[in-house]
Each structure stands twice: as structure tokens, then as C-alpha cells.
């Protein structure tokens, strides 16, 4: 009797719960879970603005904003992998276009192609075609790029350069000379903060572009350039020279610390992706007034791309809503809502330039005309195994200065992870 009573009770409870659930489902068209690591200043506000826009367009769909904090998505990526492997994917997730998406999730058959959607919405030719190519695999597109950052950017403190009579360099050799002049004057020539390793790797990848040229660099990833190309060694030699001019405590600093050293007038130059521009603005600087910018010397004409994209995982619980999300972020309105706040440029070429500051406008012009190259350290060029291995090689190389050994391990890593 007692048993029966409790059974009855639990049945009633389950029925009541089901009613409750179905009612809430009637009230709304459902949910869409968006996974990202946009939790920091600027990017979080950008995402919220994007969600607000989405809610205006689709008031019936509730956005579940699933974010995981942690530098450059390192923690988020681990969480995402666990969810994807465990068969519990979010409806759409942030991922760097290129290898990080294709190698990890497309080749393993976890993503839906979205070529049809791009054509249906008539936006396919509105994007920079090179950037769409990055996230394509066997003729199909797999993700929509929302924003674009430039990794081969260099910023300089105008007054430090002026005080020391140093002109902004035009090529790698004049760059090394400029660094030497600043060094003699007793300022830190180049601010670096590589406690997380990748900022040093990022300098190396821009030097690779400078010595190999964009086509030679892009060829490293499709097999048309050999890893033992003498230009790779040349890049290492330049890297070694440039490392003579960084602050001694670089391994104790983050990239923000390094940018701040430059901003405080302790250092002349800072090589960092153009998210540093947003940081400098946060520190109270106006682009073009207190600081100038240029592509890393030798890499003019190439735009090393770091792009955040969103795709459609197979087995997502709300694919229809995920498509609505993709449609919003692929629209001009979506891109122009997000990017000015985040401090990046849109992946579409028809965006409204008036919404962007002086630096971003100049980056938009370069983006439209330059050759695009994928960034290594930010996941677009090569599998994740190669990135960590290369960062380790560069990290050891900074201390040892042994060019031949670094050249050899670059080749070994390339052979093991890329080919």
C-alpha cells in the first residue's frame, strides 16, 4: 500500500513536470545555445549586443549564452571538445576558422556543411572569398566568419620614437637598425610578454611571412613549400636578432603587460595582434595620435588572419534556431553590431566604414586588398599539435639561440603534424 502510494505520487509529479515543460515550450519557439569564450572586456559587450539584435529579430527564441572564460579560449576549447566527443554539442560554437575547425571537427565528420545556406541567403559573395576558403573542406563551406583580427600588426609609441630620432622602419633590416638605436638610447626597443609562449610564436610567424612571402608561407600548409626552405632558416636568424632587443623580463609578462610597457613610454615597439589596439584605446590612447601602427616590417601586403567563426555541429538539439543565429551573424547588421564593440573588422567587405575607428578603417582597406594568410599560433594554419610543438621550439630557441637546432625541430614538427 505504502509502495503504491509513493508510486502514484511520483507518477503525478512526472506528469506535472511534463505539463510545466510543455507549457514553457508553447510560450517560446525554443532555445539556441551559443558557445564561446567571449568573456573579456569588449568581446563580452559585443556578444551581448549581438544577442540583443538576435532577440529583436527572433523574439521567440531564447539564447543560452554558454561561455567559458580563460586566455584565448584555452579552457573553452577543452570543454567544447569534451562536449563534442560526448555527443552533447551546443547549437553553434565559436571556433577559429581554418585548421582548428577543419582538422578537428570537419574531417572527423562532426559538422554540417552550410554552403546551401550561404547561397540561399545570398551572402556568399559578400564575404572576402579567401576567408571563406579557409573554413572549406572538399568543396563545402563549414562556418561563418564573424570578425577578423590581424596578427601581423606592430604598434609604436610615437613620442618615444620621436624623442630618440627613430623613423618607423620600412623593412626588416631597417627594423633591426631602429631597434639597435633605441637600445643605445636606453629604452626597451621591443616590448614582449611571452609567459604564455604564443606571443613569441606569433612574432616568428610574422617573420616567416616576411621571409617566405605570403604564397610561400601559405604553401607550408598545402605542401607546395618545403619545411626545409632556406627562408625558414632566415626567419629564425631574424627572430634571433630581434630577440636581443626585447625586455629581459619578457617571460614574466603577458601580452597586456607588454603593450602597457610600450604605452607607458618604457618601450618603443610592440608586435601584437590588433586586439592590442583595443587595449591601447582602453588605456586611454587614440589611434594615430599617441601611437602609430604598421604591418610587421617585411610582411606588408599580407594580412595574417585570426578569425572567429560559427558553424553547425551535427546532432545539435535546435538546428533550425542555430541557422537563425548564423543568419543574424552573417548579415551586415550583425557584423556591424559586433565588430566596432569588439575592436575587430567584419569578414564581409560591404560593411559600413563609418562605424569603425581610424585603425580599423585602415585594416579594412588592407583586408580587402592584401593576400590573406592563416595564423599558426591562433589555430588557423596547422593542427593544434603543431602549434604547441612550434611554440615549444621557439621558447627553447629564445634561450639557446641555436638556429640549426630550431630549424631541425621546425622541420621535424612539420613532418609529424602537418603532412
Amino acid at each position: 500500500m505504502l509502495l503504491k502510494k509513493s508510486t502514484l505520487l511520483s507518477v503525478l509529479l512526472v506528469v506535472a513536470l511534463m505539463f510545466g515543460l510543455s507549457f514553457s515550450a508553447v510560450a517560446q519557439d525554443g532555445e539556441v545555445e551559443i558557445f564561446s569564450w567571449w568573456t573579456g572586456g569588449g568581446e563580452e559587450e559585443g556578444l551581448n549586443a549581438l544577442i540583443e539584435l538576435f532577440n529583436e529579430q527572433y523574439p521567440d527564441v531564447e539564447v543560452i549564452n554558454a561561455t567559458v572564460a580563460g586566455g584565448a579560449g584555452s579552457n573553452a576549447k577543452a570543454v567544447l571538445k569534451t562536449r563534442m566527443v560526448g555527443g552533447n554539442p551546443p547549437d553553434s560554437f565559436q571556433v577559429h576558422g581554418g585548421a582548428e575547425l577543419v582538422d578537428t571537427y570537419v574531417e572527423t565528420g562532426m559538422m554540417q556543411p552550410i554552403t546551401g545556406l550561404l547561397e540561399e541567403w545570398g551572402v556568399k559573395d559578400k564575404f572576402n572569398q579567401q576567408i571563406l576558403e579557409m573554413s572549406s573542406y572538399e568543396g563545402e563551406y563549414y562556418s561563418i566568419p564573424v570578425n577578423v583580427h590581424r596578427s601581423n600588426a606592430m604598434f609604436y609609441n610615437k613620442s618615444v620614437l620621436e624623442e630618440n630620432g627613430v623613423e618607423p622602419p620600412t623593412d626588416l633590416d631597417s627594423f633591426v637598425d631602429a631597434l639597435a638605436e633605441l637600445d643605445e638610447a636606453g629604452v626597451v626597443p621591443l616590448a614582449l610578454g611571452d609567459t604564455n609562449k604564443w606571443p613569441a610564436g606569433q612574432i616568428f610567424e610574422t617573420l616567416l611571412v616576411a621571409t617566405l612571402g605570403p604564397d610561400g608561407y601559405n604553401g607550408l600548409w598545402n605542401g607546395s613549400t618545403a619545411a626545409d626552405d632556406p627562408a625558414v632558416r632566415e626567419a629564425l636568424v631574424y627572430f634571433d636578432k630581434i630577440m636581443e632587443y626585447v625586455n629581459d623580463d619578457h617571460s614574466a609578462l603577458t601580452w597586456q603587460d607588454a603593450t602597457q610597457i610600450m604605452q607607458e613610454g618604457e618601450a618603443g615597439f610592440n608586435i601584437m595582434g590588433d586586439w592590442a589596439e583595443g587595449y591601447l584605446k582602453q588605456l586611454g590612447w587614440t589611434p594615430g595620435e599617441e601611437f602609430g601602427w604598421m604591418p610587421v616590417p617585411g610582411s606588408e601586403g599580407t594580412f595574417i588572419v585570426v578569425t572567429d567563426t560559427f558553424g553547425l555541429p551535427k546532432g545539435a538539439p535546435n538546428p533550425e534556431n542555430a541557422k537563425k543565429w548564423l543568419k543574424t551573424i552573417a548579415s551586415v547588421e550583425g557584423q556591424d553590431t559586433f565588430n566596432p564593440i569588439k575592436g575587430s573588422i567584419p569578414a564581409r567587405l560591404d560593411a559600413d566604414e563609418s562605424k569603425y575607428d581610424a585603425y580599423l578603417t585602415s585594416a579594412m582597406e588592407d583586408f580587402a586588398s592584401d593576400t590573406l594568410s592563416p595564423s599558426i599560433v591562433h589555430g588557423s594554419a596547422a593542427p593544434e599539435g603543431f602549434i604547441t610543438a612550434m611554440n615549444d621550439t621557439i621558447n627553447e630557441f629564445i634561450t639557446t639561440g641555436d638556429v640549426d637546432q630550431a630549424f631541425e625541430s621546425f622541420q621535424a614538427n612539420h613532418e609529424e603534424y602537418v603532412q
Binding site: 584555452s74 576549447k77 577543452a78 571538445k81 566527443v85 582538422d103 578537428t104 574531417e107 572527423t108 636606453g186 626597451v188 609567459t195 604564455n196 609562449k197 625586455n247 629581459d248 623580463d249 619578457h250 617571460s251 614574466a252 609578462l253 610597457i261 618604457e266 593542427p383 593544434e384 599539435g385 602549434i387 604547441t388 610543438a389 615549444d392 621558447n395 627553447e396 629564445i398 634561450t399 639557446t400 603534424y417
Partner: protein
Amino acid sequence: MKRKHKESLTSLAILSPSIITLAVFVYGFISRTIQISMLDWDTFSNFMRKAKDYVWFENYIGLLQESRFQTDLWNTLYFTLFFILGCLAIGILLSLILNNKPKGGYFFQNLYLFPMAISFVVTGTVWRWIFAPGRLPNNPRGINLLFEQLGLNSLQWGWFTSTGNVLGFNIALIAVIIAAVWQYSGYTMAMWLAGLRGIDQQLIEAARIDGASKWQVFSKILFPIQKPITLSAIIVLAHVSLKAFALIYAMTGSGPNNVTDIPAVYMFEATFRSNRYSTGSAIAIVLLMMVGLLIIPYLVHSFKED
């Protein structure tokens, strides 16, 4: 007989949840890790295909040939050695002082033990600020700034950013060792103090009357009596040092040329950053064996004594 049988059944029933969870979550996972360390799941696609292509000990051999892992092993050896010595020396000294019941002794006893209650992540972050060298000589930071203001400029150096190396010992580790010793010497102190309070005072008084110096009392009486306690402290400290991941990760990361890297940090990066699941598992097993090397003789020893 029947009753005894029933009793053992009951106790087995009560123990079974913990036996089952132990079997699954400890031994099950260890065997799975051993298995993965012998597969070739060093790319994400291999991992996803779940292909059982055994490469046996290839991952271990590859690891031992890597300069990063070799540095890691040296770092572990020196870190463990100096960490234990430091904790013992300072902990024992503190316990001897406190055993004389100085004024405010109770307060200090708790003060010294307190760091143990804080997580390594928190102390690591604070020590990172303290030891961040700044740009010498113009712009020192942290403790280097303190040295400058005290006029001790000759003591300034790069701390955990320096890449110097003496007989395989990366001097950057000194900063990390100071932080770890600060956190755990209170533990040695507490263990020793508990032991000291149990020693019969007559023993010491007798020795003093016979003309033994303080050092003789310590080395001939106190230290031998406290040997089991010292041994337990060493075992605990040694395995803490193998698990110093949080401290290193929060404080220094792997450092320039891996000067402050340890296997646990490498394990994390290999597995979760570069998708080298098999290599990560191999490092985990090497770590497990190192802990085993320390713990098993101790367990055997204490079982014999029982």
C-alpha cells in the same frame, strides 16, 4: 561461526560502495590511462576513430628523447630535493623554537601553519607578483624594488625568468622553491611539534646534566626519536612536490627554455592543448610511477611495523 559470517557480510556490504567506486574511478581509470599511453592517439582524428593501434612503448621512448621532458625530470628531482630539505630545516627549527613555549608561541604556531590552508593557485599568483623581476636596472618590480629601496641592488636578479643552470639545476626554480617551502614548512613544524610535546622531559634534562650541548641533545636524542615523524613528513612532502602543478601553473608557467616546467604541466599541455592524448597519458603514468617509487616502500615499511 554463523554470526561471524553475517558480520563480515555486513561489513562487506557497507564497504562495497567505496570498493566499487575505488575500482572504477581509481584502478579502472589507471588501467585505461595505461592503455591509452600505448596507443597512437596523438592526433584528434585518431582519438575520435578510437582505433586500437598499439605502438606499445613508443610514446615513452619518444618522451624520454624530448629535451623538454628531460628538463622536466631534472626540475622535478631538484625541486623535490630542495623543497623537502627546506621544509624540514625550517619546519624543525620553528618547532624547536616553539617547543620552548616563548611568549605568543600559540599565535605563531597557527600563523606558520596558516599558509597550508590557502590554495596553491592563490599563493602562486601572489608569489608571481613578488618575484616578477621588472626591467633591471631602471625599472625593478616586486622584491627587486624592495632591494633597490634598501640599497641592496647587488641582490637583484631575474628570479624565475633567469635561464642560468648549475649542474642541471635551473636557478629559476629557486623562486618556486621559496614559495613552496613557505607554504609547507608549517606542516613539518606541526608534525614535529606534536612529537616533541610527547617526549619525556627527563630524558633531555638527564642529558643536559651529563653536559650535552644543545646541538648534541638535538642530534643524539630528539632527531632519532622523531625519525618516524620525519619520514612521514618526507613522504607527504615528496608527493606534494610531484603535484605542484597548480603552484607552477599559476606562478611561472613552464618558463623560458622550460626552466620551471614539471611533468604535470607538460601533461596538461600535451593532452588538452595539442591533442596528444597518448603522450599525455604516458606522462601521467611516469608521474604515477614516481609517486609509487616513494609511497610503496613506505607502505611496505609501515605494514611490517604493524
